[in-house]
Structures are given as structure tokens and as C-alpha cells.
Subunit: 129 residues, 2 copies
DNA sequence: TTGACAATACGAAAGTCTTCGTAATAGTCT
DNA sequence: AGACTATTACGAAGACTTTCGTATTGTCAA
């Protein structure tokens, strides 16, 4: 089964995807060890998750080796865009400034971050002319 | 039961909260009629959801009238902040510019929106000096 | 008072998510 | 070959979500 408009990953699936994005193609054990540094969970839990994700089509695996090697089907950027859009629509009715407002609210934001944000806006401003 | 650090609302709960924020205190029927304009669902479904939300503490109700009147416990702004932060952390590791980048990516953004975003940044820049 | 109607309460089914235990399998070493 | 180990496969429990049907309760009018 291979649907194009991939459904949004669950919380656990996202954690796994993040490991795969960071490490590139990885075995279950590699993902497991990475995740275990942050939270406690069993090896077979990770395995099962990866099997489910394979079935859903969010990852694919290479079975040439004894230990299968998994990788994300979508690049990080694509999935992140999807998740950002989802929140943008579901919570903020599409208003990017509302999203930004609430994301930044009551939070120290570094000069560096603010500069980067400004740079982004410049880029968009330029493009829309 | 009344926990302070309210857990994040589910998709359905958010839809109901949005109606309550927009309308102010409302009866089940009022929420039902509002929601039904966008999606098909039964009256008792909305009722049940509101009952569950009452138990969770995300809404409270006034039972003086025959038809109970529900209202959100948290103001919209608070919950929205929570959801924005959640995505910011879970998906973008806290980087606001990453969030913004993906939210805006490949999307027409009006001049008005861009101006508003810029205004927000000015405000933050001012505050952090 | 009783019938009709509107509202709430309750329970349960179906689906998804997360987690793990156990079984089966495949490779390795002696 | 046989024992040991690492890996995958499978199934299932428990929690949570969403949805709705049915029962109960309250209100009003005739």
C-alpha cells in the first residue's frame, strides 16, 4: 500500500523519524539506542513501530542484511512542512502571524533567532514581488 | 479533578474549544449547530465530548439552566500558546525560524501577513533590549 | 396529571496508539 | 551438528478517541 498524501505521523513515529533523519538509514538497534538516551522503552517496541511505519509507507527497509535497514520515505523538510501546515490550519486558521505570536509569546528569543526570522521574511518579501 | 498544566486537547476537543472561544459560553445545541455546518456529527457526540472535557477540566459548565452552559477554562491564547510550543519543541527542536520556514514554505503569503510578522518581530526586538 | 419533547447520563463499540512478551528464524561459533 | 545469540514476526493488552444508541430525567402545556 503506497498512498501519496502520507498521513501525519503520530508522536512516537515522529520521534523515530527524527532519528532516521539525523542518522540516515539505520537498523532497529541503532534507532533503539538513540531513543533510549532520552526515554525508556523496549527494543521490540521500536521494532514494532518501524514495522507499522513500513506498512503505512512512512519508512521503507532494505532487507539485504540480516538486520534490516530502515529509512524515512519523505525528507525531513516535507514532513515538517506538513506538520507546520497542520497546526497553522487547525489551530490558527491559516494565520502565520498568529502562529508566530503564540510560538514566541513569553519566551526568550535570541538575537540570532530574530535575525534569522527577519532574513526569512526578507526572502519571502523579495519573492512575492 | 483540576490539574493546572492542562494536557493538550485532541483534534475534536480543539474544534469544540474553537467554537466556545468564538461564541463564548454556549449550550450543547449551540455548539452542535455550529460544528454541523462544517462536518456531520450527532448531537450526543458533542454532548459526550463536552462531558469528557468537563471531566478533564478543559471546560466547565453552569448547570443553573435546564440546558447546561459550557465555557472553556483556558482562554484561547493560552491553549494556542501551548499548541504552538508543542509543535515548536516536538518538530522543530525549539527553532522558531525553522517553524516559520516550514509554515510559509511554498505558500502565497499576503503583504498584510508579512507586514504583521515584521511588526511582531519589531515588538520582540524592542522588548529584548 | 400525563403526554410530548428536549436535555442529560450512561454504556459500549470500533478504531488507533503504544507497549511488550513470546515465538520463530537466521546467523555464528565451537 | 548443536548451542548460543541477535533479529524479526506475531499477537495481544491497555489506554485513549470518537461516535452513537438507548435510557433517564426535567419542563411545559393541555
Amino acid at each position: 500500500m503506497n498512498q501519496e498524501p502520507l498521513q501525519k505521523p503520530t508522536a512516537s513515529e515522529l520521534e523515530i523519524l527524527r532519528v532516521l533523519w539525523a542518522r540516515g538509514p539505520s537498523t532497529v538497534r541503532e534507532v533503539y539506542q538513540e531513543l533510549r538516551e532520552r526515554k525508556s522503552l523496549g527494543y521490540t517496541t521500536v521494532l514494532k513501530l518501524l514495522q507499522i511505519m513500513t506498512a503505512k509507507g512512512s519508512v521503507r527497509r532494505n532487507e539485504e542484511q540480516r538486520a534490516h535497514v530502515y529509512q524515512a520515505c519523505q525528507p525531513a523538510t516535507e514532513t515538517k512542512r506538513q506538520l507546520a501546515r497542520d497546526v497553522l490550519q487547525r489551530v490558527f486558521e491559516g494565520s502565520a502571524s498568529e502562529l508566530m505570536l503564540h510560538a514566541l509569546e513569553g519566551r526568550r528569543t535570541s538575537q540570532k533567532e530574530l535575525h534569522e526570522l527577519r532574513r526569512l521574511l526578507d526572502e519571502y518579501e523579495g519573492r512575492s514581488r
